[in-house]
Protein backbone atom coordinates (compact mmCIF):
# COMPACT_ATOMS: atom_id res chain seq x y z
CA UNK A 1 0.00 0.00 0.00
CA UNK A 2 2.81 2.37 0.97
CA UNK A 3 4.54 1.50 -2.29
CA UNK A 4 1.45 2.44 -4.26
CA UNK A 5 1.28 5.73 -2.43
CA UNK A 6 4.85 6.41 -3.51
CA UNK A 7 3.96 5.90 -7.19
CA UNK A 8 1.36 8.65 -6.83
CA UNK A 9 3.33 11.14 -4.73
CA UNK A 10 6.78 10.81 -6.33
CA UNK A 11 5.90 12.57 -9.60
CA UNK A 12 4.57 15.61 -7.73
CA UNK A 13 7.94 17.19 -6.99
CA UNK A 14 10.81 14.69 -6.95
CA UNK A 15 10.11 13.16 -10.37
CA UNK A 16 7.86 15.84 -11.77
CA UNK A 17 7.34 15.17 -15.48
CA UNK A 18 7.50 18.85 -16.43
CA UNK A 19 10.37 20.26 -14.39
CA UNK A 20 12.59 17.17 -14.20
CA UNK A 21 11.95 15.19 -17.36
CA UNK A 22 11.06 18.20 -19.60
CA UNK A 23 7.97 16.42 -20.89
CA UNK A 24 4.70 17.94 -21.98
CA UNK A 25 5.64 21.59 -21.91
CA UNK A 26 4.20 21.96 -25.40
CA UNK A 27 0.68 22.61 -24.27
CA UNK A 28 1.45 23.40 -20.65
CA UNK A 29 2.22 27.06 -21.10
CA UNK A 30 -0.27 28.22 -23.66
CA UNK A 31 -3.31 27.66 -21.46
CA UNK A 32 -1.89 29.21 -18.30
CA UNK A 33 -3.18 32.75 -18.82
CA UNK A 34 -6.07 31.89 -16.47
CA UNK A 35 -6.56 29.27 -13.76
CA UNK A 36 -9.86 28.03 -15.22
CA UNK A 37 -8.34 26.99 -18.57
CA UNK A 38 -5.33 25.43 -16.87
CA UNK A 39 -7.62 23.43 -14.56
CA UNK A 40 -9.76 22.18 -17.45
CA UNK A 41 -6.79 21.11 -19.50
CA UNK A 42 -5.17 19.38 -16.50
CA UNK A 43 -8.36 17.46 -15.77
CA UNK A 44 -8.65 16.41 -19.42
CA UNK A 45 -5.02 15.28 -19.40
CA UNK A 46 -5.38 13.33 -16.15
CA UNK A 47 -8.47 11.49 -17.44
CA UNK A 48 -6.90 10.68 -20.82
CA UNK A 49 -3.58 9.64 -19.28
CA UNK A 50 -5.14 7.40 -16.61
CA UNK A 51 -7.50 5.66 -19.04
CA UNK A 52 -4.79 5.25 -21.67
CA UNK A 53 -2.39 3.73 -19.13
CA UNK A 54 -5.09 1.33 -17.92
CA UNK A 55 -6.11 0.19 -21.41
CA UNK A 56 -2.55 -0.19 -22.68
CA UNK A 57 -1.54 -2.07 -19.56
CA UNK A 58 -4.48 -4.47 -20.05
CA UNK A 59 -3.47 -5.37 -23.59
CA UNK A 60 0.30 -5.26 -23.04
CA UNK A 61 0.80 -9.01 -23.56
CA UNK A 62 -1.07 -9.04 -26.86
CA UNK A 63 0.74 -6.20 -28.64
CA UNK A 64 3.79 -7.13 -30.73
CA UNK A 65 6.62 -4.76 -29.89
CA UNK A 66 7.13 -3.75 -33.53
CA UNK A 67 3.78 -2.00 -33.74
CA UNK A 68 3.43 -0.94 -30.12
CA UNK A 69 3.91 2.78 -30.80
CA UNK A 70 1.16 2.87 -33.42
CA UNK A 71 -1.22 0.98 -31.12
CA UNK A 72 -0.48 3.38 -28.26
CA UNK A 73 -0.90 6.49 -30.40
CA UNK A 74 -4.20 5.21 -31.78
CA UNK A 75 -5.58 4.49 -28.31
CA UNK A 76 -4.43 7.86 -26.96
CA UNK A 77 -5.74 9.79 -29.96
CA UNK A 78 -9.15 8.06 -29.72
CA UNK A 79 -9.43 8.98 -26.04
CA UNK A 80 -8.44 12.57 -26.84
CA UNK A 81 -11.10 12.79 -29.56
CA UNK A 82 -13.70 11.59 -27.02
CA UNK A 83 -12.52 14.15 -24.46
CA UNK A 84 -12.59 16.92 -27.07
CA UNK A 85 -16.11 16.00 -28.22
CA UNK A 86 -17.33 15.87 -24.61
CA UNK A 87 -15.91 19.31 -23.91
CA UNK A 88 -17.52 20.71 -27.04
CA UNK A 89 -20.85 19.20 -26.05
CA UNK A 90 -20.97 20.25 -22.40
CA UNK A 91 -18.59 23.23 -22.10
CA UNK A 92 -18.59 24.83 -25.52
CA UNK A 93 -17.23 28.19 -24.40
CA UNK A 94 -14.32 26.58 -22.57
CA UNK A 95 -13.49 24.40 -25.57
CA UNK A 96 -13.34 27.55 -27.72
CA UNK A 97 -10.90 29.15 -25.28
CA UNK A 98 -8.71 26.06 -25.21
CA UNK A 99 -8.63 26.13 -29.03
CA UNK A 100 -6.40 23.38 -30.43
CA UNK A 101 -4.75 22.51 -27.15
CA UNK A 102 -7.17 19.76 -26.11
CA UNK A 103 -6.41 17.93 -29.34
CA UNK A 104 -2.73 18.42 -28.68
CA UNK A 105 -2.95 16.23 -25.57
CA UNK A 106 -2.53 13.44 -28.12
CA UNK A 107 0.98 14.64 -28.93
CA UNK A 108 1.80 15.48 -25.32
CA UNK A 109 5.01 13.67 -24.51
CA UNK A 110 3.87 12.84 -20.96
CA UNK A 111 1.13 10.51 -22.18
CA UNK A 112 3.24 8.52 -24.61
CA UNK A 113 6.19 8.66 -22.23
CA UNK A 114 4.28 7.12 -19.31
CA UNK A 115 2.52 4.45 -21.36
CA UNK A 116 5.78 3.50 -23.07
CA UNK A 117 7.96 3.58 -19.95
CA UNK A 118 5.56 2.27 -17.32
CA UNK A 119 2.25 0.86 -18.54
CA UNK A 120 3.84 -1.57 -20.99
CA UNK A 121 5.71 -3.35 -18.17
CA UNK A 122 3.28 -3.14 -15.28
CA UNK A 123 -0.11 -4.37 -14.16
CA UNK A 124 -3.16 -2.15 -14.75
CA UNK A 125 -3.66 -0.80 -11.19
CA UNK A 126 -0.07 0.42 -10.60
CA UNK A 127 0.00 1.83 -14.14
CA UNK A 128 -3.14 3.85 -13.54
CA UNK A 129 -1.79 5.10 -10.20
CA UNK A 130 1.48 6.10 -11.87
CA UNK A 131 -0.50 7.89 -14.58
CA UNK A 132 -2.59 9.66 -11.95
CA UNK A 133 0.53 10.83 -10.13
CA UNK A 134 2.18 12.12 -13.29
CA UNK A 135 -1.02 13.85 -14.36
CA UNK A 136 -1.22 15.48 -10.93
CA UNK A 137 2.42 16.60 -11.16
CA UNK A 138 1.68 18.20 -14.52
CA UNK A 139 -1.46 19.81 -13.11
CA UNK A 140 0.49 21.18 -10.15
CA UNK A 141 3.01 22.98 -12.37
CA UNK A 142 0.23 24.31 -14.61
CA UNK A 143 -1.77 25.61 -11.67
CA UNK A 144 1.21 27.33 -10.05
CA UNK A 145 2.15 29.10 -13.30
CA UNK A 146 -1.48 29.93 -14.08
CA UNK A 147 -2.16 31.39 -10.60
CA UNK A 148 0.86 33.67 -10.84
CA UNK A 149 -0.04 34.82 -14.35
CA UNK A 150 -3.72 35.38 -13.64
CA UNK A 151 -3.16 37.07 -10.27
CA UNK A 152 -0.59 39.57 -11.52
CA UNK A 153 -1.83 39.84 -15.10
CA UNK A 154 -5.47 40.60 -14.44
CA UNK A 155 -5.76 40.79 -10.65
CA UNK A 156 -8.19 37.88 -10.41
CA UNK A 157 -8.14 34.21 -9.40
CA UNK A 158 -10.66 31.88 -11.07
CA UNK A 159 -12.27 35.07 -12.45
CA UNK A 160 -12.94 36.37 -8.89
CA UNK A 161 -11.30 39.76 -8.19
CA UNK A 162 -8.48 39.49 -5.63
CA UNK A 163 -6.42 42.60 -6.25
CA UNK A 164 -8.71 45.61 -6.87
CA UNK A 165 -7.81 47.15 -10.24
CA UNK A 166 -7.12 50.81 -10.87
CA UNK A 167 -9.82 50.75 -13.54
CA UNK A 168 -12.39 49.77 -10.87
CA UNK A 169 -11.21 52.31 -8.32
CA UNK A 170 -8.67 50.06 -6.58
CA UNK A 171 -4.90 50.38 -6.35
CA UNK A 172 -3.53 47.56 -8.54
CA UNK A 173 -2.22 48.33 -12.02
CA UNK A 174 -2.31 44.98 -13.92
CA UNK A 175 0.92 43.79 -15.55
CA UNK A 176 -0.03 43.13 -19.16
CA UNK A 177 3.27 41.36 -19.75
CA UNK A 178 2.09 38.50 -17.53
CA UNK A 179 -0.60 37.64 -20.06
CA UNK A 180 1.85 37.49 -22.96
CA UNK A 181 3.89 34.47 -23.98
CA UNK A 182 7.38 35.49 -22.74
CA UNK A 183 6.30 35.66 -19.10
CA UNK A 184 5.25 31.99 -19.13
CA UNK A 185 8.76 30.93 -20.10
CA UNK A 186 10.38 33.14 -17.50
CA UNK A 187 8.04 32.05 -14.67
CA UNK A 188 8.63 28.39 -15.51
CA UNK A 189 12.38 29.04 -15.59
CA UNK A 190 12.27 30.65 -12.15
CA UNK A 191 10.08 27.77 -10.87
CA UNK A 192 12.67 25.26 -12.07
CA UNK A 193 15.35 27.33 -10.33
CA UNK A 194 13.38 27.32 -7.07
CA UNK A 195 12.81 23.55 -7.17
CA UNK A 196 16.44 22.83 -8.00
CA UNK A 197 17.68 25.04 -5.20
CA UNK A 198 15.53 23.11 -2.74
CA UNK A 199 16.40 19.73 -4.28
CA UNK A 200 20.07 19.98 -5.31
CA UNK A 201 19.97 16.37 -6.55
CA UNK A 202 18.08 17.53 -9.63
CA UNK A 203 20.79 19.92 -10.80
CA UNK A 204 22.37 19.16 -14.16
CA UNK A 205 26.00 18.14 -14.40
CA UNK A 206 28.31 20.91 -15.56
CA UNK A 207 30.03 20.57 -18.91
CA UNK A 208 32.54 23.28 -18.05
CA UNK A 209 33.43 24.76 -14.69
CA UNK A 210 34.90 28.22 -14.27
CA UNK A 211 38.48 28.30 -13.00
CA UNK A 212 38.86 29.26 -9.34
CA UNK A 213 39.62 32.95 -8.99
CA UNK A 214 43.34 33.65 -8.85
CA UNK A 215 44.21 35.97 -6.03
CA UNK A 216 45.93 39.14 -7.21
CA UNK A 217 49.41 39.24 -5.83
CA UNK A 218 50.69 42.71 -5.09
CA UNK A 219 54.43 43.05 -5.69
Amino acid sequence: MFEHLRTVTDPLVDKNPVTVHILGICSALAVTTSVATALTLSLALIVVLTLAAGIISLIRHHVPSAIRLIVQITIIASLVVVADQLLQAFAYEMSQRLSVFVSLIATNCIVLGRTEAFALQNRPVPSMLDALGNGAGYALVLLVVASIRELFGSGTLLARPVLPLVADGGWYEPMRLMLLAPSAFIILGLLVWAIRSLRPGQQEAREFAPLPQQRQVQP
Binding site: T19, I22, L23, G24, I25, C26, S27, A28, L29, A30, I70, I73, T74, A77, S78, V80, V81, D84, Q85, S99, V100, S103, L104, A106, T107, N108, C109, L112, L180, A181, P182, S183, A184, F185, I186, L188, G189, L190, V192, W193, A194, I195, R196, S197, P200, Q203, E204, R206, E207, F208, P210
Partner: protein, 200 residues
Protein backbone atom coordinates in the same frame (compact mmCIF):
# COMPACT_ATOMS: atom_id res chain seq x y z
CA UNK B 1 -0.15 36.50 -48.59
CA UNK B 2 3.22 38.07 -47.74
CA UNK B 3 1.66 39.37 -44.56
CA UNK B 4 0.51 35.88 -43.58
CA UNK B 5 3.99 34.52 -44.34
CA UNK B 6 5.69 37.15 -42.22
CA UNK B 7 3.14 36.85 -39.42
CA UNK B 8 3.55 33.09 -39.21
CA UNK B 9 7.33 33.49 -38.90
CA UNK B 10 7.48 36.22 -36.26
CA UNK B 11 4.28 37.36 -34.63
CA UNK B 12 2.55 33.99 -34.41
CA UNK B 13 5.69 31.92 -34.10
CA UNK B 14 4.63 28.37 -33.22
CA UNK B 15 7.36 27.84 -30.64
CA UNK B 16 7.50 31.25 -29.04
CA UNK B 17 3.90 32.40 -28.91
CA UNK B 18 1.97 29.10 -28.99
CA UNK B 19 4.52 26.95 -27.14
CA UNK B 20 4.31 24.17 -29.72
CA UNK B 21 7.06 21.63 -30.24
CA UNK B 22 8.63 22.54 -26.91
CA UNK B 23 9.86 19.03 -26.07
CA UNK B 24 11.97 18.84 -29.21
CA UNK B 25 12.81 22.53 -28.92
CA UNK B 26 14.44 22.14 -25.51
CA UNK B 27 15.87 18.67 -26.00
CA UNK B 28 17.84 19.21 -29.22
CA UNK B 29 18.97 22.79 -28.78
CA UNK B 30 22.23 21.97 -27.05
CA UNK B 31 24.34 22.14 -30.19
CA UNK B 32 23.87 24.42 -33.16
CA UNK B 33 24.53 21.73 -35.81
CA UNK B 34 21.76 19.48 -34.51
CA UNK B 35 19.44 22.46 -34.17
CA UNK B 36 19.96 23.35 -37.84
CA UNK B 37 19.30 19.70 -38.80
CA UNK B 38 16.02 19.54 -36.89
CA UNK B 39 15.03 22.98 -38.16
CA UNK B 40 15.46 22.01 -41.82
CA UNK B 41 13.66 18.69 -41.28
CA UNK B 42 10.76 20.53 -39.66
CA UNK B 43 10.50 23.09 -42.48
CA UNK B 44 10.27 20.24 -45.01
CA UNK B 45 7.71 18.21 -43.07
CA UNK B 46 5.60 21.23 -42.11
CA UNK B 47 5.71 22.66 -45.65
CA UNK B 48 4.35 19.38 -47.07
CA UNK B 49 2.01 18.25 -44.31
CA UNK B 50 -0.11 21.39 -43.85
CA UNK B 51 -1.25 21.67 -47.51
CA UNK B 52 -1.62 17.87 -47.72
CA UNK B 53 -3.81 17.83 -44.63
CA UNK B 54 -5.76 20.75 -46.06
CA UNK B 55 -6.56 18.75 -49.20
CA UNK B 56 -7.66 15.75 -47.14
CA UNK B 57 -9.74 17.87 -44.80
CA UNK B 58 -11.45 19.80 -47.58
CA UNK B 59 -12.26 16.78 -49.73
CA UNK B 60 -12.90 13.99 -47.23
CA UNK B 61 -13.57 15.20 -43.70
CA UNK B 62 -15.46 18.49 -43.89
CA UNK B 63 -19.25 18.49 -43.42
CA UNK B 64 -20.91 17.33 -46.67
CA UNK B 65 -17.47 16.72 -48.18
CA UNK B 66 -18.33 13.24 -49.39
CA UNK B 67 -21.08 14.52 -51.70
CA UNK B 68 -19.00 13.55 -54.74
CA UNK B 69 -19.11 9.91 -53.59
CA UNK B 70 -22.88 10.00 -53.42
CA UNK B 71 -22.88 10.23 -49.62
CA UNK B 72 -24.47 13.57 -48.75
CA UNK B 73 -24.90 14.70 -45.16
CA UNK B 74 -21.72 13.12 -43.75
CA UNK B 75 -19.67 14.96 -41.15
CA UNK B 76 -16.33 13.38 -40.32
CA UNK B 77 -14.77 16.43 -38.68
CA UNK B 78 -14.25 14.57 -35.41
CA UNK B 79 -11.83 12.27 -37.27
CA UNK B 80 -9.41 15.10 -38.10
CA UNK B 81 -6.98 14.55 -35.22
CA UNK B 82 -6.50 10.83 -35.92
CA UNK B 83 -6.26 11.49 -39.66
CA UNK B 84 -3.62 14.19 -39.21
CA UNK B 85 -1.54 12.02 -36.87
CA UNK B 86 -1.68 9.13 -39.32
CA UNK B 87 -0.81 11.34 -42.30
CA UNK B 88 2.14 12.98 -40.53
CA UNK B 89 3.54 9.65 -39.35
CA UNK B 90 3.21 8.16 -42.84
CA UNK B 91 4.71 11.27 -44.43
CA UNK B 92 7.73 11.19 -42.14
CA UNK B 93 8.29 7.51 -42.86
CA UNK B 94 7.94 8.06 -46.63
CA UNK B 95 10.24 11.07 -46.59
CA UNK B 96 12.85 9.07 -44.74
CA UNK B 97 12.75 6.27 -47.32
CA UNK B 98 12.87 8.72 -50.26
CA UNK B 99 15.82 10.61 -48.76
CA UNK B 100 17.62 7.35 -48.10
CA UNK B 101 17.12 6.24 -51.72
CA UNK B 102 17.80 9.47 -53.64
CA UNK B 103 19.76 11.79 -51.35
CA UNK B 104 21.85 9.56 -49.07
CA UNK B 105 24.08 12.45 -47.95
CA UNK B 106 21.07 14.46 -46.81
CA UNK B 107 19.64 11.38 -45.15
CA UNK B 108 22.77 10.90 -43.10
CA UNK B 109 22.46 14.48 -41.92
CA UNK B 110 18.74 14.64 -41.24
CA UNK B 111 17.83 10.96 -40.87
CA UNK B 112 17.95 10.78 -37.10
CA UNK B 113 15.79 13.88 -36.66
CA UNK B 114 12.94 12.88 -38.96
CA UNK B 115 11.39 10.22 -36.66
CA UNK B 116 11.41 12.77 -33.82
CA UNK B 117 9.04 14.90 -35.84
CA UNK B 118 6.43 12.19 -36.32
CA UNK B 119 4.81 13.09 -33.01
CA UNK B 120 5.73 16.73 -32.68
CA UNK B 121 3.09 19.17 -31.43
CA UNK B 122 4.29 21.89 -33.82
CA UNK B 123 3.37 19.80 -36.85
CA UNK B 124 0.02 18.49 -35.61
CA UNK B 125 -0.70 21.93 -34.15
CA UNK B 126 0.07 23.61 -37.47
CA UNK B 127 -2.48 21.41 -39.23
CA UNK B 128 -5.08 21.99 -36.51
CA UNK B 129 -4.58 25.76 -36.70
CA UNK B 130 -5.03 25.51 -40.48
CA UNK B 131 -8.49 23.99 -39.88
CA UNK B 132 -9.41 26.38 -37.08
CA UNK B 133 -8.49 29.50 -39.05
CA UNK B 134 -10.08 28.18 -42.27
CA UNK B 135 -7.15 28.77 -44.61
CA UNK B 136 -7.56 27.84 -48.27
CA UNK B 137 -5.02 25.70 -50.11
CA UNK B 138 -2.63 28.51 -51.10
CA UNK B 139 -2.81 30.10 -47.66
CA UNK B 140 -2.16 26.80 -45.94
CA UNK B 141 0.91 26.20 -48.11
CA UNK B 142 2.24 29.64 -47.17
CA UNK B 143 1.34 29.13 -43.51
CA UNK B 144 3.04 25.71 -43.42
CA UNK B 145 6.25 27.05 -44.90
CA UNK B 146 6.25 30.21 -42.81
CA UNK B 147 5.55 28.53 -39.50
CA UNK B 148 8.22 25.92 -40.25
CA UNK B 149 10.78 28.64 -40.95
CA UNK B 150 9.74 30.49 -37.79
CA UNK B 151 10.19 27.41 -35.63
CA UNK B 152 13.57 26.65 -37.20
CA UNK B 153 14.69 30.23 -36.63
CA UNK B 154 13.68 30.03 -32.97
CA UNK B 155 15.52 26.76 -32.30
CA UNK B 156 18.70 27.89 -34.07
CA UNK B 157 18.70 31.14 -32.07
CA UNK B 158 18.27 29.26 -28.80
CA UNK B 159 21.00 26.74 -29.70
CA UNK B 160 23.43 29.53 -30.53
CA UNK B 161 22.74 31.24 -27.22
CA UNK B 162 23.01 27.99 -25.25
CA UNK B 163 26.40 27.24 -26.81
CA UNK B 164 27.59 30.55 -25.44
CA UNK B 165 25.89 30.04 -22.08
CA UNK B 166 27.86 26.86 -21.52
CA UNK B 167 30.88 28.95 -20.64
CA UNK B 168 28.94 31.36 -18.44
CA UNK B 169 28.92 31.18 -14.66
CA UNK B 170 25.19 30.70 -14.13
CA UNK B 171 23.78 30.08 -10.61
CA UNK B 172 23.91 26.34 -9.89
CA UNK B 173 20.17 25.65 -9.82
CA UNK B 174 19.45 27.69 -12.91
CA UNK B 175 21.89 25.84 -15.14
CA UNK B 176 20.55 23.94 -18.14
CA UNK B 177 16.76 23.84 -18.22
CA UNK B 178 16.03 26.87 -16.09
CA UNK B 179 18.36 29.10 -18.08
CA UNK B 180 16.99 27.72 -21.35
CA UNK B 181 13.49 28.78 -20.32
CA UNK B 182 14.52 32.28 -19.36
CA UNK B 183 16.53 32.74 -22.55
CA UNK B 184 13.52 31.49 -24.54
CA UNK B 185 11.37 34.08 -22.78
CA UNK B 186 13.77 36.81 -23.84
CA UNK B 187 13.86 35.51 -27.43
CA UNK B 188 10.05 35.52 -27.40
CA UNK B 189 10.08 39.18 -26.36
CA UNK B 190 12.47 39.91 -29.22
CA UNK B 191 10.23 38.13 -31.73
CA UNK B 192 7.12 39.90 -30.49
CA UNK B 193 8.81 43.19 -31.36
CA UNK B 194 8.05 42.31 -34.99
CA UNK B 195 4.34 42.29 -34.19
CA UNK B 196 3.46 45.61 -35.73
CA UNK B 197 5.55 45.23 -38.89
CA UNK B 198 3.39 45.03 -42.03
CA UNK B 199 4.35 44.65 -45.67
CA UNK B 200 2.86 47.57 -47.60
Amino acid sequence: MIELFQRSIFEENLALSFFLGMCTYLAVSRRIETAIGVGIALIIVQGISVPLNHLLYAHLLRADALGWLGLPGTDLRFMRLITFIGIVAALVQLLEMLLDRYFPALHRGLGIYLPLLAINCAIIGGSLFMVERQYDLAESAVFGLGSGIGWALAIVTLAALRERLRYADVPRGLEGLGMAFIVTGLIAMGFSAFAGVRAI
